[in-house]
């Protein structure tokens, strides 16, 4: 692809970079315990926690870096961090 003049770019290209590969711990969401408060989505620095049709939440593992903020902040303790590989 030819370079853009002036080192400019249109939106959407960051998503090529799948930061899920950075993850060592994976958040496991337990929808049955979810109170649908949405705090997990709000505090996610990646913006990769997605609301489901049921109103509960799932992480987008393509981008989730496994920081654990969602698990830490979940008032219902419905998210658990588990090691990716043992």
């Amino acid at each position: 692809m030819p370079l853009t003049i002036g080192c400019a770019a249109r939106p959407g290209k960051a998503r090529r970079n799948l930061t899920g590969s950075w993850r060592v711990f994976r958040p496991v969401f337990r929808p049955e315990e979810c109170t649908k408060c949405g705090l997990c989505a709000t505090v996610c620095p990646e913006g990769c926690v997605i609301e489901t049709e049921e109103g509960t939440f799932i992480p987008d593992y393509d981008y989730c870096k496994g920081c654990g903020l969602c698990a830490e902040e979940c008032p219902a303790k419905a998210i658990e961090m588990v090691q990716e590989e043992k």
Binding site: L3, I5, G6, C7, A8, A9, P11
Partner: protein, 384 residues
Amino acid sequence: MLKITEGSYAVAEAVKLCRPQVIAAYPITPQTHIVEALAEMVANCEIDGEYITVESEFSALSACLGASAAGSRAYSATTSQGLALMFEVCFNMAGLRLPMVMTIANRALGAPLSIWNDHQDTISLRDSGWFQLYAEDNQEATDLHFIAYKVSEDHNVLLPGMVCFDGFILSHTYEPVDMPVQEEVDGYLPPFTPYHRLDAGDPISMGMYATPEYYMEFRYQIQQAMEQAGKTLVAAGKEFSEHFGRDYGSLVEGYRLDGADTALIAMGSVCGTIKDAVDEMRDAGRKVGLLKLRAFRPFPEREIVAALNNVNTVAVLDKNISLGNSGAAGTEVKAALAGSGITVLDYVIGLGGRDVRKRDIARVVDLAEKGEGDMFYGLRTEVL
């Protein structure tokens, strides 16, 4: 219409005719008359634009950068220390490929402090990616603004440009200038159409960082744009002559070079003095001519080689010194003429406002013909 006016006011009038939308400038001697005149024009609604009274030259150029990125025609003017303070923004703006025009009322750089003319300020920014045009008189200073905007905003160029005219020597001189009217300028210079701009309707990220995988290619792109600027300057200069009758269709201008054995090379207002000196020397039977460099960036290497193919000796007058080497134009002309058999000698002259007279030009020619050069000309040895 031919009218007599101060150089600074002529430039301000030319800028007004270019319909700038955002002006950001900080006062500095000898540029002040330009920005004062523009502020007055904005205050009287003669310019339909914003005048930002910034707190430094650094912010002046930064604000112009923002305005250009948002799609407005931007303008600033400065000199010397002010230009030095803009250093970082100059490189950045060229790299972002944002067009604008800035007038430089050329002045020496301190220390020692000097408010007087030489070209050290703009020469020190020759590598910044701005094209640089140097005016011989206030007519040329006026006209080059119309041409500079046209070239800067051309989508094949997209580089900012400096119109350089000598501080005090031109900026504070009253002389007749043929000032075009608005309709004529509008017929030559179309409104600014940005290549891309900051616009919520069509978002874009500007000024990203480039890893080693990309950086060189971006710099190569700028180099190509600068080469294109040379071609576009010629085309825009020719088109200018069709509109206004004054010809700027070359990056250089030869004066009485036919049959010349010795050619002087110079930039800016000293070229006027040189022309008078050349006439006197020609009258005395000496085969001398002048090659004026109107553009220093892009460097008109091909034009120089073509114009000088019949001379034996070239004397380059540099109102600057690349400390540790020699004058900038001298170095580059030597490189351009390498292998031609032409002797090229460099003379650092007129620094910090030292007056250059016709007799100085004649002495330089004497020295060049004796093969003496690569020196500071006119040093007061009694104080050394």
